[in-house]
């Protein structure tokens, strides 16, 4: 075909490709890599859950569900959120089951943004936030967090970026990649700013089950915030169900209705067998979650301790399964560090810079790996540091 013009969307062409892609290609081409670069649990989905999905297929549950998802599942999510986090949502009108939390974020942004609207994106953060804001027609405004505050949000830094066009704050706690969890007081500070400037908060709570020191507080449970919060969560991380692609979004009725409008046109509904699996996860999977949480906590303690002993200064992350040590003592940029480490020692980590400007100088290391793998990685990183410092 003779091509005289580019058919591609300018918006998409101008999106920066994810920095993770390059490391994936590089690491995938190598043998014997110990990977701390994986953003998902090392556990397989609990058997009770897998078994329930198989049973649903045997029984022939293979058709569409309601657009918002099986009512029984929404009821389950509703009681789960209320019992676990005191976040109250009506299953009939305020919960939409989505294809992973990723789609939930996409829907939330598309439901609230008009061209030119700004979203404050707290960085470092998951790689898709800013591109999704752009694709929804908005403008992402990064707000940096700092190591000296353990990557918690400084309300003054946040307020500085608020403009007349600001519509929402997008945050994730516990955070990918820093593991930082915001406690009740810290969420209240963000909440007060949202109220003062009449903003929404899109709160990505996908790691809510994986917290190790303090109890988890949901943004939706902060007094006055339920009406301003779009709560994003799902089954991927806590229940080790990444491949099932099952998430949900909870919001006040008018926002949930808009979200559902897009969802019914764009997706119809989340996969039925995954919804049946999720239903079982809520019924019986919580015991597995307790065991997984214990295991993550122990491995976190081991890895953070090891990094600090190696002189890679690392704050103690309250949740998720990531350590985010500083590599500034090596004088390398985070990309250089990650690439050299991969080529010289075959350890895959993710450079912090792919998660935003404030991630520069850090690497993300997942401790969702067996202790043996972590021990091997630490041994190799020590060798690497001995050669490069």
């Amino acid at each position: 075909m003779k091509q005289t013009k580019s058919y591609l969307s300018k918006t998409v062409e101008q999106l920066k490709p994810s920095g993770i892609r390059r490391f994936f290609d590089l690491a995938s081409s190598m043998e014997g890599v110990v990977s701390l670069g994986v953003g998902e649990p090392d556990f397989v989905t609990p058997w009770t859950v897998r078994e329930a999905a198989i049973l649903s297929l045997e029984e022939g549950f293979t058709s569409y569900t309601a657009n918002a998802g099986l009512l029984e599942l929404r009821q389950g999510i509703s009681s789960y959120l209320e019992n676990s986090f005191q976040a109250v949502y009506a299953p009939e009108s305020e919960i939409v089951v989505t294809v992973g939390a990723s789609q939930a974020i996409d829907l939330a942004l598309r439901a609230i943004l008009d061209p030119g609207d700004e979203v404050l994106v707290i960085e470092p953060c998951f790689v898709s936030y800013s591109p999704l804001v752009t694709l929804a027609g908005g403008t992402p405004i990064p707000v940096q967090t700092k190591k000296e505050n353990d990557f918690k949000i400084d309300p003054a830094d946040l307020e500085k970026e608020i403009s007349k066009r600001t519509k929402a704050i997008l945050l994730c706690s516990p955070n990918n990649p820093t593991g930082t969890m915001l406690n009740k007081q810290e969420l209240e500070q963000v909440g007060r700013l949202a109220e003062k400037h009449d903003l929404l908060v899109i709160s990505d709570e996908i790691y809510a089950e994986l917290v190790y020191d303090e109890t988890y507080t949901s943004m939706a449970a902060i007094p006055g915030m339920r009406e301003r919060t779009i709560l994003i969560s799902g089954f991927s991380k806590g229940f080790a169900m990444t491949g099932w692609r099952l998430g949900y979004v909870c919001a006040p009725e008018d926002i949930a209705a808009s979200i559902l409008k897009i969802h019914q046109y764009a997706m119809m509904c989340a996969p039925t067998m995954a919804q049946h699996a999720a239903l079982e996860a809520l019924k019986t999977g919580t015991l597995d979650v307790i065991d997984m949480r214990k295991s993550y906590r122990r491995r976190r303690n081991y890895l953070i301790n090891s990094f600090n002993e190696l002189g890679l200064d690392c704050h103690n992350p309250g949740g998720a399964f990531y350590a985010f040590p500083s590599i500034q003592s090596t004088g390398l940029s985070s990309e250089e560090f990650a690439e050299k480490l991969l080529l010289e020692e075959k350890v895959a980590v993710v450079p912090g810079s792919v998660f935003g400007e404030s991630g520069e100088g850090f690497i993300r290391c997942s401790y969702a790996s067996s202790l043996e793998q972590l021990q091997e990685a630490v041994k190799r990183i020590k060798h690497f540091l001995d050669n490069n410092r």
Binding site: V33, S35, G37, V38, N301, N305, A348
Partner: protein, 166 residues
């Protein structure tokens, strides 16, 4: 006895991997090494940690001969000592690996290891059945071990995750 959360943490980690170094154990539990050493000593002294052992898949070892049988034993409990007296008479035999008092259709579950079926059969007919309190025995030979103490023997589940993901 009441253990602290940290002591329970140590027990849980050691139960899964008793060969872990005390340094790594301390790091995982979030304790100082001295505290960890002291806690392990205490747990050993109190016999909370009774013994350190390995799970061995003997079926992998060529030339290894051995059979395991689970025997349901019905007994008459004795006045005053209940089942303890007969349990003791049974567990003193070195062939006996485990003895549990059970609820349900029989009283004691006895696990025997021997070199051959004949050896186990001989033990049951000559030693176990002849005990005064033993009313009956039902012997089940184990044909294959799939999972033992929470560990699956044939681990087919390798890491299927992609090597780097956001």
């Amino acid at each position: 006895m009441l253990l602290t959360d940290k002591e329970i943490e140590i027990v849980e980690i050691l139960e899964r991997d008793s060969r872990i170094s005390n340094e790594d154990l301390a790091a995982m539990a979030g304790l100082e090494i001295e505290e960890t050493n002291a806690a392990i000593k205490k747990l050993e002294d109190l016999k909370v940690i009774v013994r350190y052992s390995s799970i061995v898949d003997w079926s992998k070892i060529d030339g290894h001969e051995g059979v395991t049988a689970m025997i349901d034993v019905k007994v008459t409990p004795k006045r005053g000592v209940g089942f303890d007296e007969v349990a003791k008479r049974i567990y003193r035999f070195k062939e006996v690996k485990s003895v549990y008092l059970m609820s349900g259709a029989y009283d004691l579950s006895v696990i025997i290891e021997g070199r051959s079926m004949n050896e186990v059969a001989r033990f049951v007919s000559q030693k176990l059945s002849t005990l005064d309190s033993v009313l009956s025995t039902t012997t089940h030979f184990i044909l294959k071990k799939y999972k033992h103490d929470g560990t699956i023997f044939e681990q087919g589940e390798e890491d299927k995750r992609i090597v780097v993901s956001p």
